[in-house]
Structures are given as structure tokens and as C-alpha cells.
Amino acid sequence: MNKFDSYGNWVPGVDPTDLTGWLIVIEGTDGVGRTTHVDRLRLHLERLGYAVAETGLTRSDLASRGIRRAKQGNTLGTHAFNLFYATDFADRLENQIIPALRAGFVMLTDRYIYSLIARAIVRGADPDWIKKVYGFSIRPDAVFYLRIEVPELVPRVLVTGGFDYWESGMDLPMGDDLYESFTHYQERVIQELDKLAREYGFVTLDATRPVDETAEMLSEHVTRKLLAGRRSPVVAARDV
């Protein structure tokens, strides 16, 4: 019996029976505080004796530079951007996530395919197409969704460096200025993440609660998941 499933087709050359670790995903929109929670969760799990590895978006050896370059000039079409991100993700899946799962690690990932899917849909991609593109990805043990509304998000972004061009959807753009575009774009992203949360069975956490409180809930959820032993599909994670 395989511990993991894929969302469609398996990565060529990978034997699913080799994968024994845990894949834990932290999802949420830009500026919601994912990095803080990933760091704290890592410390917590290491204290319990688990081997932990981490990854996040556009950190691949293969494609991260190319994506950065393409973003500087806003020079790629929407399909091309989506597929470039998929290339980056595939490279990390094969070179970071799968080896960690093979070695029995807890793989914490700061965003997974869901953010990529949500952003693609907001930029006009066909939802069915973009989900099929990511059909090779591995179904995580659990997805934790740090949920926030735009009015609470804005002050956080202001104190941590202001509005980013891409995180404001300025390539579209969705308003007269950065602020306008940011609010409209983020509303749409959150709307799509909410849909994906239902479809893929995320565990939704209220990210407007104090950080310590959310961190504690997250640790508890994950620990329980790990202690519960081997395979239980993400869809069941709702009742954790």
C-alpha cells in the first residue's frame, strides 16, 4: 500500500512505495504570516525529534532565475508564466520534496500547488486546465490554510515593506494604483483559495488570531497527524 497518492499521474521514474515521510503544506495569501508559522512549526517538530525539511515557491535550482528575469520585464504571456511556475514546482518536487519523503522527513512547504492554481485562475487560466497541469503533484498529508480578509491583510503588508508589484496583480492591473489593485487582486486570490479549501479539504485556521495562538493550534494539528501514524488522506484532515 502506498502512503501517498498523486492528483493524477505519477512523476516518471518515482516508486510511490519508497515515500515514507510526511508532506505538510502551509497555504495562505501573500503577507499572511506563513514564514513565521513554518519557522515555529519546524522548531516544534525538531524538539519532538522529527527530521524536518523545508521548501517554498520559486526556489528551484532550474527555473527560479529565469522566472525572476521574466518578472522584471513582465515579458511572458499568461500560459507561459503558469507553465514556468509549474516547471519550477516540478523541479522542487523532484529534487527537494520527493528525496525528503524518501528519507522519512517531515517536509514543510510554504505554499504548494494551490497558491499557484489560485493565482493562475485569477489571471484568466482555465481552472480545469491548470489543475490538470499539476496532476503530477503528490497529495499532501495535510494542508493548513491561514485565512485572512483583505482589511486585516493591508496593515500587515504596510509594516512589512509595502505593496509588491506582483502581489498587487499590477500586471493585470486590477485598479488605478497599487493600493486599489492590491485589494481587488487579493480579494480574488482569497476567493479562489477558499474554493480550493473546500475542494481539497484544507484545515482552515483564522490568521487574524494572535500569532502564538495560531502557532499552537498548528503544532497541535500537525503533531496529532504525525502520531496518528501512516496514511490518511487529506480529505479526512478536515476532522482532525
Binding site: 532550474l62 532565475r65 528575469r69 520585464g73 499568461t78 507553465l83 523532484e94 490538470k132
Partner: protein, 235 residues
């Protein structure tokens, strides 16, 4: 085999025409396409050329991946789809909208054949390319393996890693690996002819005979040229 969301389900209606050529290395397809372009231009048609692997932005990543052997079957497939989608959005579709005749040396079928030989899921790769415009007509240059190999290998070329299919671990000798890889591609192409209605041409025929057949096949799809010029050449 075609899931509802696969390539070929969407038929665009643009004023231009899209003709593409496919075939293994050494099938002579590029020569034929060049001759076709000359003829079409001579007839007064606006012609745009589009080649596989030509998006300037994506190219740097592709060559880096190839040079450092970072590409797996999955990322090889995805980076080529990225490159191709950039070409479609940037060159092919705008040209078709403008009424040009677009000639493409290799198209989605190259990816279907190569990626499947590399072990990528057949249905998945077809859904990846769903955004691609279906050509007005696709031509396949059918050539026996030995003929193509002789054309390519007679100069004892230095075969590149991925070109020879070395990533598949078929053989330690690049030439032997290349042979096996090409024979598998040939078998995949044969399946594609039927699946997508590719027009197969006998690529062992003399160049001018093939070119005549190609022009005959294309002529019915052509609109009246905008600029009337006397035909410069008769084949």
C-alpha cells in the same frame, strides 16, 4: 485517449493559416519547410516562421538545464511547454490574427512523441498543450530509421546529451542511445498520424517531388494572395 480537456478540442478561427512539419531528425522536414516558405513568399503571401525552442526568455533556463543535466522527463516536458506557450502567445496567434501564413518547424506532436518516449503520461502531456491552436494542416515526413540515421550520423557528429536520449540510460554509447531513442520516437509518431490526422509524406522521395506534393496539399487552404506577383518558380 483524448480526455475532454486535451489538445485538439479547441478550434480557433483566425484569418491566417498554420502549417506545421513534423518528423524525426534527418527526415528533411526543415529543408522542405524552407522551400515552401520561398514559394509562398514568391506567390505574395505574408509568411512567418516559427521554430521549436525559440522563446528568448525561456531559452536561458532550457539551455542551463540541458548544459547542467538538470532536466528530468517531467521538467524537460514542462520547460518545453513553457517555451512553446510563449511562442504561441507571442508569435503564432498574433500572426494568425493578422492573416499571415505561419510555418512551424515542429509543433506539439514533437512533445507528444518525445515526452511519452521519456516515460511521461500520455494523457497528461496532451492536456498540457490544450491552449495550442490546431494547425490548418500538419505534415509528417515519414522516413525509415536507417535512412534518417545515415543522414545524421554519417558525419560522426557530436550528439548532445538530451538529443541522444542519454538521460534515458539506454546505452553508454551516444550513437547507440540515439538509434534506440529515434526508433522509439518513430513508433510514437506512427501513432500520432492516425490520432491527429497528420498528412504523411514519403521522405525518401527526391526533394523536388516531396515539395510538389507539399504544395499541392497546401494550395486548397490558401486564400488569394494580397499582392499579385507572377510565380517565380515552377517545380
Amino acid at each position: 485517449m483524448n480526455a475532454p480537456s486535451a489538445y485538439g478540442m479547441r478550434q480557433d478561427r483566425y484569418p491566417g493559416r498554420l502549417f506545421i512539419v513534423e518528423g524525426i531528425d534527418g527526415s528533411g522536414k526543415s529543408t522542405q519547410l524552407t522551400l515552401l516558405a520561398q514559394w509562398l513568399r514568391g506567390e505574395g503571401h505574408p509568411v512567418v516562421f516559427s521554430e521549436w525552442n525559440s522563446s528568448p526568455i525561456v531559452k536561458a533556463t532550457t539551455s542551463r538545464g540541458k548544459k547542467r543535466k538538470l532536466l528530468t522527463p517531467l521538467t524537460f516536458s514542462l520547460i518545453h511547454a513553457t517555451d512553446f506557450s510563449d511562442r504561441v502567445e507571442r508569435d503564432i496567434v498574433p500572426s494568425l490574427k493578422a492573416g499571415a501564413i505561419v510555418l512551424a518547424d515542429r509543433y506539439v506532436y514533437t512533445a507528444f512523441a518525445r515526452d511519452v518516449v521519456r516515460g511521461v503520461d500520455r494523457t497528461w502531456v496532451r492536456s498540457l498543450y490544450r491552449f495550442a491552436t490546431v494547425p490548418t494542416q500538419s505534415f509528417y515526413f515519414r522516413v525509415p530509421l536507417e535512412v534518417a540515421l545515415k543522414r545524421i550520423l554519417s558525419g560522426r557528429p557530436k550528439l548532445k546529451w538530451y538529443e541522444a536520449g542519454m538521460d534515458l540510460g539506454l546505452h553508454i554509447d551516444p550513437q547507440e542511445s540515439y538509434r534506440t531513442f529515434q526508433s522509439r520516437l518513430l513508433a510514437e509518431y506512427e501513432k500520432l498520424i492516425e490520432e491527429y490526422g497528420l498528412f504523411a509524406l514519403d521522405a525518401t522521395q527526391p526533394v523536388e517531388v516531396q515539395q510538389r506534393r507539399l504544395r499541392e496539399a497546401i494550395r486548397p487552404h490558401l486564400a488569394k494572395p494580397r499582392v499579385e506577383t507572377p510565380s517565380l518558380e515552377q517545380v
